[in-house]
Amino acid sequence: MCFSSRSFRDTNIILGHGGRGNNWAYGYHGQHSESENSLLKQTMESLRKEVERRDSYSGTVLLHSLSGGTGSGLGARLCETIREEFPLGHILSVTVAPHHMGESPLQHFNSLLCLSWLQRYADGVLLFHNDDVLRRMVAMSGRKTADAMSGHSSQISLSAMNSHIASCLAGLMYPVQTLTTGSGLSIGMEPWELLRSVCPMPSMKFLHVTQRSTSDLMVLLESALGCLMVKDAVQGDSLCINQQGHLHQHYSTAVLAVARGNHDNSFFSSVNSVLMKLKQGYRCVPWNPTPIDYWTELTSMFLSRIKSQSLTLCANHSSVMDYLNRVLERARAMYEAHAYLHWYWKYHCEEEDFRQAFETLGTVLEDYSSAGD
């Protein structure tokens, strides 16, 4: 176990045996023998108790990956089950997509199935890509140390990558002054207000997140918006050909900017030019009158670097289409070759699950494609 058990109630830590073999079906349906005391049942039980402890329940944040068996399969099942049991609650998922160049041959099927479940049952998906995170870490470490002597690129660990993702999440979800009540109370509405800001259309739920921290926000704003952060958002090529074969430039339907460490009010002094830059850099759609939302918070989110300032950007950006396209293509090729399917049938997956998943993602692509027109 990699975290201190004192942070979590013992009954909220639910463990199984032997893993789910990188198989979405195994994760979703679970083990035959444990139907009575399944991981799903135990988890829902713990969730119910947590909800009872609260004065009011607004929603759940789900953290998982798309390529594993438990993360993608049980994750999908939980999303569906939580939605059914708490129809008025929000569901925000923090979803990690695997490296493009294979972490597992089954990742395409698992991602396909899980993404379609998220589309159906979650309200918003903060989608992180391992390739992007690794690339950012390498770039950041390159800036920090000019390690020309060693002659090889820096070694990045999984734990460093995870720290970056955690930092992005903190940037978005830690309390902000903007949402604090008049009496100075923070009621933890940040995740749900985020959904309200950046998910204007129910068909478009996939969100891109990036973050920079610095000791001087103005420098950050000048540099970041100039090239770095937008480049992150656009993932390489700025054009893509959509399903109808039309040329398409990427665009955003909505963007949320969270500036922390705003103790010198530098953000507000230049807020209009900042918003203009964001609107242009992210190519916000013209039909949304208020595409940019922003929150500020006085204190830095890093306890050890009180003076530091950070800017976290969350955008509903069409570049997710590239990723969805790739997943669809790879999954289709494998499905047509009938490769690996016997493992999915063995664990009670059905052809209908796949058919629906292909259809759901196809529709998402169409919606993203037409929204930019």
Partner: protein, 475 residues
């Protein structure tokens, strides 16, 4: 944590098994300094309080009192097993884990499978059941045997059938030593082909090993050790993959170096299931990721590094070299060249001080020189375990589901047909009760259709799936 049971059958199986248990103890001893019976140990060993006279006096947690291996030892001759019991590893096994006979199988698959199979069926089932009951969460069986003889090949595959019937949910990994062309057992082609049919139909994953490849690797290591090049001296002998500085002191027996390589293969395969790491890989993930079609479950394995040099310079270069070596023909445990054939999937199990970025970098670097089947262009499965093997700072086990196994099977088929056409030695088989001509025809037909499935996949080579068209605009 899950447990695994090792079933070693026949002379070869038991000799390799012996090396495996010795090296496993050595590996755990080097990590587990406090002598606590921890989860890692429990995957292959149980902790028995020998002062208590009950059979199932298992002690969980706490100090190690007496370790027993989770194993079943089967041999129709007593020699190898007796030697094992009389040696220092003897205490790992209690008499109830052994099934032996005296007269051997005469290098005859039919004697092993049909005769001894029927005779010992009940005893084998009972033995395995008892061992399985001592496991909280049994995940896999490891069967170790050879294909060319009578016991390992015949009784070994009989046991495989039993395991499938009695424990259908438990993964069956089979380590099979295939005879080389210059094998001294004349009937080895018959035994091998008859056994192949069982492996194709009842195993979840087979790791074929060829003696000749092991010999070549051992020679290469010896050459390195004796070459006397400056800086090329090997770090003390415990650092080679073929060494056994474990509990058994004294003379290394002739096949020990070769058997150690296979033992290390099993240790590396199970490392992620025993020790922690940033990217764990359970044993069921190995089968799910590497087997796209049920019958095509033969994995070509390669282990690197084979040895560590005393010269400890520039770690990252050596790290990259480790990855390159895994794909070179010299490091494969069968005579095959995966680079020249088609990959269906490939698993990389890394141990030691290696980061995710090193892994990604090497995959990207090596990918262009490897051919993957069109629908699995990114068919990699990766695992990172933080505990390296004894004597190394890092190591890599590559398992490739690759069509390069085809030539091995074709050669086997040809050797079989040479004998079969003349009906040589056939009567020795047919006179065994339960053995019929149809066993032979079915076996060769199974092998032929397996070869044909690989052929069809090979035919798709060069049909690379095109990426979605992208335009890049200068920014």
């Amino acid at each position: 944590m899950t447990q695994s049971i090792v079933v070693q059958v026949g002379q070869c199986g038991n000799q390799i098994g012996c090396r495996f248990w010795d090296l496993a103890l050595r590996e755990h001893a080097s990590v587990n300094k406090k002598g606590i019976y921890d989860e890692a140990l429990s995957s292959f060993f149980r902790n028995v309080d020998s002062s208590v006279k009950r059979d199932d006096a298992t002690v969980s947690g706490g100090k190690i009192s007496s370790l027993k291996a989770r194993a079943v030892l089967i041999d129709m001759e007593e020699g190898v097993v007796n030697e094992l019991l009389q040696g220092p590893l003897g205490e790992l096994f209690d008499s109830k884990q052994l099934i032996t006979d005296v007269s051997g199988s005469g290098n005859n698959w039919a004697v092993g499978h049909k005769l001894y199979g029927a005779q010992y069926q009940e005893q084998i089932v009972e033995n395995v059941r008892r061992t399985a009951e001592h496991c909280d969460s049994l995940q896999s069986f490891f069967v170790i045997h050879s294909m060319g003889g009578g016991t390992g090949s015949g009784l070994g595959t009989f046991v495989l059938n039993l395991l499938e019937d009695e424990f259908p949910e438990v993964c069956r990994f089979i380590t099979s030593v295939y005879p080389s062309a210059e094998d001294d057992v004349i009937t080895s082609p018959y035994n091998s082909v008859l056994a192949m049919k069982e492996l194709t139909e009842h195993a979840d994953c087979v790791l074929p090993i060829e003696n000749q490849s092991l010999v070549d690797i051992v020679n290469k290591i010896n050459q390195m050790a004796n070459s006397g090049k400056p800086g090329a001296s090997l770090k003390q002998s415990s650092s080679t993959i073929a060494s056994n500085c474990g509990g058994i002191k004294g003379q290394e027996k002739p096949f020990d170096a070769m058997n150690n390589i296979v033992a290390n293969l099993l240790l590396n395969l199970t490392s992620s299931a025993r020790f922690e790491g940033s990217l764990n890989m359970d044993l069921n993930e190995v089968t799910m990721n590497l087997v796209p079609f049920p019958r095509l479950h033969y994995m070509v394995s390669s282990l690197t590094p084979l040895y560590t040099l005393a010269d400890v310079n520039v770690p990252p270069r050596r790290l990259d070299q480790m990855f390159s070596d895994a794909f070179s023909r010299d490091h494969q445990l069968i005579r095959a060249d995966p680079k020249r054939s088609l990959y269906l999937a490939c698993a990389l199990m890394v141990r030691g001080n290696v980061h995710i970025s090193d892994l990604r970098r090497n995959i990207e670097r090596l990918k262009p020189s490897l051919q993957f089947v069109s629908w699995n262009q990114e068919g990699w499965k990766t695992g990172l375990c933080s505990v390296p093997p004894v004597g190394h700072s890092h190591s890599l086990l590559a398992l490739a589901n690759n069509t390069c196994v085809k030539p091995t099977f074709i050669e086997l088929k040809e050797r079989f047909l040479k004998l079969y056409k003349k009906k040589a030695h056939l009567h020795h088989y047919l006179q065994v009760d339960g053995m019929e001509q149809s066993c032979f025809t079915e076996a060769i037909s199974s092998l032929s259709s397996l070869i044909e499935e690989y052929n069809q996949l090979d035919a798709t080579r060069g049909l690379v799936m095109a990426d979605a068209p992208r335009l890049s605009i200068a920014t």
